[in-house]
């Protein structure tokens, strides 16, 4: 396996060829915020939080979906990037109905963590207060659209790892929403195996087990990668 070297925020780092910029950033001991990305699932580059500057390129590149190349010089935390990230998180909060105080995921929520990481204490954009619904038709789980940030992790984990493809995205723009089956109540979708992987990878409290109440959801997003490793390399990583 060949190795490439690049420079991340002034640190030289070596990674296997074919690594993503995100892997290189992590190899350098640094971090960029992510929401849609999850190890073990294909990258979609939708949340735009992991955008980085690459010297010699006018465009910002999503670290999760860009291959690292030899000699690249990247910057992950310029003032401009930090400003954009904070705005993106504000947009997430303003477009949904996120009320931490009585959310199942309070205290174990990636959206919350990202808000803290980018220093967002309030949204400068007016809250949209969209009219959204809750689907509690499944015997064990619920989907609260108010808390959904459309990261599509549930769509991908169900398709790519469980192989059931229960979830999809319907409508477009700000009307987008996650749908089960052919836009049916979740509980009526025969394809659902009730495996709970979507609950584990959901970064917010949008998908949760019915027994959980406020601040009781403790997801396991690492399971996507564990399962993939187990299947592809016959290794169970903890």
């Amino acid at each position: 396996m060949s190795v490439i070297t690049l420079r991340v925020d002034g640190l030289d780092v070596a990674v296997p060829a074919g690594s993503t910029l995100l892997q290189a950033i992590r190899a350098a001991g640094l971090a960029v915020p992510t929401l849609c990305h999850l190890d073990g699932l294909d990258a979609v580059a939708a949340c735009r939080l992991c955008l980085v500057e690459v010297e010699g390129s006018q465009r910002l590149l999503p670290a999760c979906a860009s291959e690292a190349t030899e000699g690249q010089v990247i910057h992950t935390a310029t003032a401009q990037l930090q400003g954009y990230r904070r705005m993106a998180v504000e947009l997430f909060f303003a477009e949904g109905n996120h009320v931490c105080a009585f959310c199942v995921a309070n205290g174990d929520c990636e959206l919350q963590d990202v808000a803290v990481a980018v220093g967002m204490d309030h949204s400068r954009f007016p809250y949209q207060y969209p009219q959204r619904s809750v689907d509690a038709s499944h015997p064990r789980f619920s989907l609260d659209h108010n808390r959904c940030i459309l990261c599509t992790r549930c769509v991908r984990v169900c398709d790519q790892i469980e192989g059931a493809h229960v979830w999809d995205v319907a409508e477009r723009g700000s009307d987008c929403r996650i749908v089960a089956g052919l836009d049916q109540p979740w509980g009526e979708v025969d394809a659902c195996t009730s495996c709970g992987k979507c609950i584990d990878v959901c970064p917010t409290g949008a998908l949760f087990a019915k027994e959980d109440t406020t601040a009781e959801k403790h997801p396991h997003p690492e399971r996507a990668q564990q399962l993939r490793q187990a299947r592809e390399h016959q290794q169970w990583l903890r």
Binding site: A43, V44, A45, A46, C47, R48, L51, L60, P62, A65, S66, E67, Q80, G83, Y84, M87, A88, L91, F92, A94, E95, R124, F125, P126, Q128, I149, L150, D168, V169, E171, R172, G173, S174, D175, C176
Partner: protein
């Protein structure tokens, strides 16, 4: 081309494209054909008729766009005196026109005042300054008859290329022509073809992007409806040049006539051995299919378009890999716009160098523009690249119909910007328009009159982007919604200085961080109007000039 050289036997060409159809071309064409077939002409209406006889072979043809769409339905009469063009003729006027066309003597104008009042001036710069290459046969050939296209030189270049040129030689000509993508991006076509052709051996696809969705853009529709065989020929040459044997024409569902004519053209081409197996006696095979969009603007973005063809949700994906490397079902895929592919037969016929001699600097050849909005002559013009905006809008387009001054020209649709009247001397080419904060786009030009406040224009386009955002990435999905709310405040004159600051900051964020070109360009109408018409916003906000 609209004006033809004088000819002994008269013919009438009636525009049968969407614009004229909606203005009544259908009943007019039927009336012209009835009058020509019967020869039953009112004697009183034919004082000049001397030698015409019933059934004397006056041909009435249905053709593609005759350019001056705003005056439709358009009919051209080609006779011994050359061509005369008539606009807005009601079906009741058909008999008079047929009678005049039959009278081989010169028309004693104004013998028939009703007819004369519909006559349009073909010497007007709108027609005179056009340089038809892509549209050279549009308005001349009957788009529903391949025999007519072939009689006017159709498929000659495809046959020649297959007999005489290697794929590399074809690409060499396209490279030399300096042709750049006419869909808006302006990527060098020859380079794109090379990138696809030079991928490792294996299957390749060729795709024509006919998902023309910019408001005010109808250039591609005119090619599809007026001369579909030219597009098929260009596409077949492109497929040969990159080694593809399968291709798709992705057409928006809102173009039913274009879809119908394309499907007919494909059938006819297959029947003539110009598509399918062993094209024109060579070993080259090509299957082409029409795919119809489902009403999403974003499907004009190439990666979303490919997803749509594959039957998936029409959302863009991160590039690289570019479609030229990994496109349809992972295979290298050439995607070109309609106008780009329709320019290929001319380039092969005249040579790349000949084509490169037209236009200027980095923008070669001609470009088709559709003129609409506050302008006297609404329609299609094809002009050399580098023609000034003033020539296009004022000289050819005739300026504001009410005689007022033009305030701005919007180019590039929701991805473009507004160019103020004092910069109308700007040459129309890719770089000059970008430098002004607008873009060439696909070729729609919407002229804005003095009565329009620019924040309203910006809001109009932002509302479009909000409706058309696919919702995949947050800056476009949620950012455009917030931009629209800020623009509402500007239009309603409630905006504060802080709102204007927020507007600019969010525009910069959406532009820099959106996933695809739609989101990245969505702030352009705001940014360009802020740049050139800041006073309109300041008035709105009360923040002072």
């Amino acid at each position: 081309m609209v004006a033809l050289p004088p000819r002994e036997r008269s013919q009438l060409r009636c525009c049968g494209a969407s614009g004229c159809r909606s203005a009544g071309a259908g009943p007019l064409l039927a009336a012209l054909r009835a009058a020509a077939a019967e020869g039953a002409v009112e004697p009183s209406a034919t004082p000049a008729q001397t030698s015409g006889e019933p059934g004397s072979g006056l041909e009435v043809r249905s053709v593609g766009c005759l350019r001056l769409c705003g005056q439709g339905p358009l009919v051209a009469w080609d006779g011994p005196e050359g061509t005369q063009l008539f606009g807005g003729l009601p079906p009741q006027g058909a008999a008079a026109l047929v009678a005049q066309a039959r009278g081989l003597a010169p028309i004693p104008l104004p013998a028939e005042p009703a007819l004369a009042s519909h006559r349009l001036d073909l010497d007007h710069p709108f027609f005179r300054l056009q340089r038809p290459l892509v549209l050279e046969n549009c308005g001349i050939v009957d788009p529903e008859r391949i025999e007519d296209a072939i009689a006017h030189g159709g498929y000659v270049q495809l046959r020649r290329v297959l007999e005489e040129l290697s794929p590399g030689e074809v690409r060499e000509q396209v490279r030399r022509s300096g042709l750049r993508g006419r869909g808006g991006g302006g990527y060098p076509t020859g380079l794109k073809w090379d990138t696809v052709a030079l991928q490792p051996p294996g299957r390749r696809y060729v795709v024509c992007n006919a998902d023309e969705g910019d408001p005010g853009a109808f250039m591609d529709r005119s090619v599809l409806e007026g001369d579909p065989h030219r597009l098929l020929e260009g596409m077949a040459i492109a497929a040969y040049a990159v080694g593809a044997d399968h291709g798709y024409l992705y057409v928006r569902a809102e173009y039913p006539l274009a879809i119908e004519r394309l499907r007919l053209a494909l059938q006819q081409a297959r029947r003539h051995g110009l598509l399918g197996q062993g094209i024109a006696g060579s070993t080259f095979n090509l299957e082409l299919e029409v795919r119809v969009g489902a009403g999403a603007y974003v499907c004009g973005e190439e990666t979303a378009l490919l997803h749509s063809i594959q039957g998936q949700r029409g959302t863009p994906r991160s590039r690289p890999p570019y479609p030229a490397q990994a496109g349809l079902w992972g295979a290298p895929t050439l995607i070109n716009n309609v106008e780009t592919l329709a320019a290929v037969p001319v380039i092969l016929r005249q040579g790349g160098d000949w084509y490169a001699a037209i236009g200027r600097e980095k923008s070669r050849g001609t470009k088709v523009f559709s003129l609409s909005g506050a302008i006297r002559h609404t329609g299609l013009v094809e002009v050399p690249m580098g023609t000034s905006l003033r020539t296009v809008v004022e000289t050819m387009g005739g300026g504001d119909p009410d005689g007022g001054a033009v305030k701005a020209v919007q180019t590039g649709g929701p991805s473009g910007g507004c160019i103020p009247a004092d910069l109308l001397d700007t040459p129309v080419d890719f770089e000059s328009l970008l430098a002004l904060g607008s873009m060439m786009g696909s070729g729609g030009m919407v002229v804005i009159g003095q009565g329009t406040a620019m924040p309203e224009v910006a809001r109009h386009f932002m509302a479009f982007s909000v409706n058309e955002s696919c919702g995949k990435c947050v800056p476009c999905r949620a950012g455009t919604v917030q931009l629209l709310a800020l623009l509402d405040r500007c239009v309603e004159r409630r905006a504060t200085a802080a709102d204007l600051e927020a507007l600019e900051a969010l525009c910069a964020m959406v532009k820099a961080t959106s996933l695809c070109g739609l989101g990245q360009a969505a702030p352009n109408p705001v940014l360009s109007t802020l740049r050139h018409f800041r006073q309109d916003y300041s008035m709105a906000s009360g923040a002072g000039p």
